[in-house]
Subunit: 345 residues, 3 copies
Amino acid sequence: MEKTLQELAKVVGGTVVGNPQLVIKGVAGIKEAKLGEITFIANPKYFSLLPHSKASAVILPDRAKETTLSSIRSANPYLAFAKLLHLFYDKPYISTGIHPQTCIDPSANIGEHVSIQAFAVVGKNVQIGKNVQIYSGVFIGDFCQIGNGAIIYPNVTIYHHCRVGSNVIIHAGSVVGSDGFGYAWDGKNHYKIPQIGQVIIEDDVEIGAETSIDRGTIKNTVIKRGTKIDNLVQVAHNVEIGESSILVSQSGLAGSVTMGKEVIIGGQAAIVGHVTIGDHTKIAGKSGVTKDVPPNSVMGGTMARPIQEWKKSVACIRRLPTLYKKISDLKKKVQDLENKLRDKD
Amino acid sequence: MEKTLQELAKVVGGTVVGNPQLVIKGVAGIKEAKLGEITFIANPKYFSLLPHSKASAVILPDRAKETTLSSIRSANPYLAFAKLLHLFYDKPYISTGIHPQTCIDPSANIGEHVSIQAFAVVGKNVQIGKNVQIYSGVFIGDFCQIGNGAIIYPNVTIYHHCRVGSNVIIHAGSVVGSDGFGYAWDGKNHYKIPQIGQVIIEDDVEIGAETSIDRGTIKNTVIKRGTKIDNLVQVAHNVEIGESSILVSQSGLAGSVTMGKEVIIGGQAAIVGHVTIGDHTKIAGKSGVTKDVPPNSVMGGTMARPIQEWKKSVACIRRLPTLYKKISDLKKKVQDLENKLRDKD
Amino acid sequence: MEKTLQELAKVVGGTVVGNPQLVIKGVAGIKEAKLGEITFIANPKYFSLLPHSKASAVILPDRAKETTLSSIRSANPYLAFAKLLHLFYDKPYISTGIHPQTCIDPSANIGEHVSIQAFAVVGKNVQIGKNVQIYSGVFIGDFCQIGNGAIIYPNVTIYHHCRVGSNVIIHAGSVVGSDGFGYAWDGKNHYKIPQIGQVIIEDDVEIGAETSIDRGTIKNTVIKRGTKIDNLVQVAHNVEIGESSILVSQSGLAGSVTMGKEVIIGGQAAIVGHVTIGDHTKIAGKSGVTKDVPPNSVMGGTMARPIQEWKKSVACIRRLPTLYKKISDLKKKVQDLENKLRDKD
């Protein structure tokens, strides 16, 4: 594909500085770009790499300084870069139909233009929308619903009675709808609590590889529209995640956590059971949240606190060995004073 | 299904307060319950929700105060609730037999009333008990044994020569019997240590989704009767887990850990290699255990300590910024005293 | 198999002390060994178990003291033990060919002596070397390359356009080439950044069970020769891991991390995005690395620091409750001094 800089500027809603007729054939990183490609700088600290880049053009922040290279100026260069990647590299979806080596229950209702690959399994009374892609080794349990345009990558398991919205993407190996972890101790054994709830995944959610989302005990586990979940994340039973939230890799939400919208949970962070996290809150990576967190908070630490407090504590901890020295000096001085005063008596 | 309150009380071993002839059609949470359903309160703090519930009856702790609602009084309301969930929602198991699109070695020995779904693989000399359910995409390696009534969910992999007890449940995507992580450095390369041990999973164990349990190096990895393991847990080679223990999601046991019975390991906690954890010990979430822990301990912290000590340290850390202020005040006072004393001389 | 001690000494490059004609039939742990078997002691603390062992011979460090048992003396007993395990227990590889119940694109190019098990899928234009073993349920996407002698265990997913080197081992359930976790916020939604890079896994790499390795955004994710990765590890997009490194279970590398060679990352440790870790560096388990780390470092702590500093801080933290007491004593003394001095005036 070939596009002029002018055409690309139109796609991303930016303005050209330099030669609008320049022909661009691809998008690449600032170090990897070759002649004829466009690169981008979202973070000013990479500006110094620009004179060494072989790129023919660059996407820059609106107010970036002049460059010798032709550029597209954009309010959001990272977003502009993403849009050009789609433009240059997306391939049109062509349905491959239903592979003969599948196992699809005759009661399943399957939309138009789907692709169901070899060794996929579709259970009883499943509803599958149009343009859905189901890769090899996927298991879709009885009574599930899969929305239009969803992509389910290989070896994903979706247990019975779960609902997956439109344009949802689930990466390989993930599990949706496994039993929540619930037992009642009967004095001798852990007695299993049946998990009869469902999992509801709303539209435009993306779930990474090898993430597990348990079904609810008696209500549902719900992931709202536009939320993005990374790899190896744990979402326990009865959890509710608001719209457009972000869960980074290896984070975990314990049972009955309620999260607002546009929340960000850092990598390897954990939220204990029954906690509520307010809208727009950010939890630093590796944190442990043990109590409710109000909206718009930024929290960190093993027993998470406002991040400024936590950082102050971390700084204090680093100075502890010096502090111990200081106190022992102080103690000596006080003793000297005591001695002197006694001598005076 | 319809049952009188009297009948339900008998099932759970409780007593009716109110109308024993009340007809109950289902079980639900206190907020979700509808007319004709029974709910439960295990934690007194939810008592205030009861007047707003639409439930027709409630399971209460033995000594709970009077309510206008008919109730079943129980020593363990949570257990009673679990029993009613089984009563109302369990479906009888009906074997679906062996699906024709499977790959089962002719030397495998398969019990009565099994269900083996499409695209499952059963290796050489495998022994499968009766009433076993093997879902799609499951791989059972050569010489494995699967006990009566076991349920193996989709896309589980069990490597060769592993033993899975009766009534064991293994959720989707989990891996049993992968090679332990062992190498000897030969000066240039990591030389692989063959892992020739097995994995033994005793009766009534449940394993969550996407959990990995490595085979032993030269002895076995053993998980004893009644232990319950959550999702995304790591159990390394040569580990021995006692009876009725609990491992919460994303926790990890390094190689050759020995755990007693009725131990609880919190979410994202880790135990370093070769450590022994005594019976009935509890390890807080996110802890790191670096040394042997005696029975009946409760431990917390990155280098785990008795939890009261650890909590004291955490409280101290929070007060550190104040402490620094206090010490600098003290230092000034001492200096003042020194000056005064010098003036006196 | 039966071998004399003399023959075994030759295999491991050691020397016999005792009876060179002793016949050995197997290798076992010091507690489990039976008559006719050889055991090993790599760590001197297990020396006291030797008199109680039923083993017929033992592998000992070069300079170990005399024993009544015949022994092989070795500079690296653990490596010698590993070599004997291979000698006694490795089975010759016999190709089982391509199972008829597979789905292999006719454009795939498949080497000699491969084994491709039932329900495996091989995409378009895939190149598979000789002696490759592909287990059941494996998915290999279009345009992938798999090197000679690679072993891909059940239910592994390798997305399109990835390269797996010779003698690579990938354990069950792992995912290679899933989309990196990248979105640009457009003011209303998380806009997906296409991930058009690849994953390159060089020769002799081993990857544990249920590990996920994301493809690069516009460059590649690269794992260099001889690196070993444990179970449930997260390797994000654009990461580069040097040769012969070790990543222990449940550790995570965020996007664009660059790691040198022979680095060791402990269990549950995490490295934040864009950080560089120098050669031969060791990161303690559960650490969080937030900044570049120079070569040959040993680091620990949530905001990782040189491990000696970190350990000092941990020790200080444990003494904090005592410190608070000490300071309050000191404060009282200073007050006493002030009072006395005032009295004198």
